[in-house]
Symmetry: C2
Subunit: 292 residues, 2 copies
């Protein structure tokens, strides 16, 4: 039997998780809005990273890895729905279609985010009925990345402070879920999880730099969401700080640092290769020539 491709595993796990929210006589539009927020897929970068780390660690309970990856992806989707709300970015589009509050109204967008956060934890709990000894650790990893003081909710909340701690802001808003992806991937496979945190932190920063580059050089059609948002909202952007070439060089450095940080493990060589190719794909097409 061929091993299932990571993207198939993720889509299947997400569909299975969502199915639990859709049945049972609940309000149909909430179920539709939750589905709309999760499908069709984005790049699934965080959940693929989680699977890649678990594979490198020689995962022994694939259903638990899938649940960990799914849990992280659901949190990511929840954060996008709430970040797009009128009281935050007020973004009308996401992944090339109307954002959830535009399509379903603001009340359902708030509840969709809430229910996806809950579903993230439910998904872990369902899978862990078969691996109870790993559940608390996984929950604490995912919870740390989601809430306060260091998770994505805290990251977004830095925008509401009179003085922003920039490093903390980016680490919480973007880095936290990347770290959770690597750490949870290892924990799902029963490995020493914290040794994998540095990898997630490097990749989170790399992704942030790439996102900053896209916000500057891409069109809304390419991204499926508004561009120039950082300038509009006066948010920090690596291109503004380092210049275009400086930001491209920084992305390259982070990519190498990430690959170099992979702890010794069964599939370490393959994982390092995977990381270098994935981080190259982060660079907007317009800039690939410039970087070559």
């Amino acid at each position: 039997m061929q091993p299932t491709e990571p993207m198939q595993r993720i889509e299947r796990a997400l569909a299975k998780a969502l199915a639990h929210s859709e049945g049972g006589g609940g309000p149909p539009r909430l179920a539709q809005a939750m589905h709309y927020a999760v499908f069709p897929r984005g790049a699934r970068i965080r959940s693929r990273l989680c699977l890649a780390v678990a594979a490198a660690c020689g995962e022994d309970i694939p259903a638990l890895t899938d649940a960990a990856a799914c849990s992280i992806e659901l949190l990511h989707c929840a954060s996008l729905v709430h970040d797009d709300l009128p009281c935050f970015d007020n973004a009308d589009t996401r992944r090339g279609k109307p954002s959830v509050h535009v399509a379903f109204g603001e009340p359902l967008a708030v509840l969709t985010g809430d229910a996806l956060i809950v579903l993230s934890f439910q998904t872990l709990a369902r899978a862990a009925l078969r691996a109870p000894h790993r559940l608390a650790t996984l929950m604490l990893i995912v919870g740390r990345a989601a809430g306060a003081p260091l998770g994505i909710a805290a990251g977004q909340a830095w925008e509401c402070e009179p003085a922003i701690d920039l490093a903390q802001y980016q680490q919480s808003k973007t880095g936290a879920l990347f770290s959770a992806a690597t750490v949870a991937g290892a924990a799902a496979a029963g490995h020493d999880a914290e040794a994998w945190r540095a990898l997630g932190e490097y990749l989170g920063e790399a992704y942030q730099v790439a996102d900053d580059l896209r916000d500057v050089v891409c069109t809304p059609e390419e991204l499926g969401k508004p561009v120039g948002q950082d300038e509009t909202y006066g948010r920090p952007n690596a291109v503004q700080r380092l210049g275009l070439d400086g930001a491209i060089a920084r992305l390259d450095d982070l990519s190498r640092a990430a690959a170099g940080s992979v702890p010794d493990c069964l599939g370490g060589v393959a994982l390092r290769k995977h990381i270098l190719s994935e981080t190259q794909r982060l660079l907007p097409k317009e800039l690939a020539v410039r970087a070559a």
Copy 2:
């Protein structure tokens, strides 16, 4: 050593849970808003119910009971913060003070709710490091009461449907957390949890009827929040459906049904007494004479 009073246990568990969100270099205003949403206390009805059931079951890991009760109370607080938002009830006051979005702004109110939901699950996970075999069950109980299709997020989402399923609406919006309180109390004590669901359902409906009565007969000063909200928003209200005396009689019936549903257990007699006295306290003072 005297056993600690339930209310003290709850306040202590909540303070301990909140402390995890407050340290660690996170955004200070988010931490303040989370604290503001949880303290000073409301009646803590759901968490006291959870402790009462666990005690009746002869709880063997009090720290786990405390975490379960705390987890349910945090979800309740999160739902109040989100329900008060301008896109839902647009309520300016709660527990006699400005609601969270009035005091801290709408963005922080959204994030406060999010972070409290996450904290609810983190609290269970932290306590369960000492009782891993009960964590998945507790998480599934709490998750069911929080999300879709049957939890409080789903309950609130019925307000966004073109046609409302009234029984489902009330069961999800109010009943779900009461059921979670009784079922989780039993599960924390290692008992057959589902046998306790009927008790939670009766008490949830009793609380709903009492809430409907208060919305009709109390002043905003007595409640610490706006009154007449059901009429304003065209929401179902038991007084409108059954009349004032009918609603009072219904509350009495539900109170007896709840006491009668308590499964056989070590502390069953005391729990039945507790339930009858608690449900009597639900009746607004103005109506106590009328009911006597």
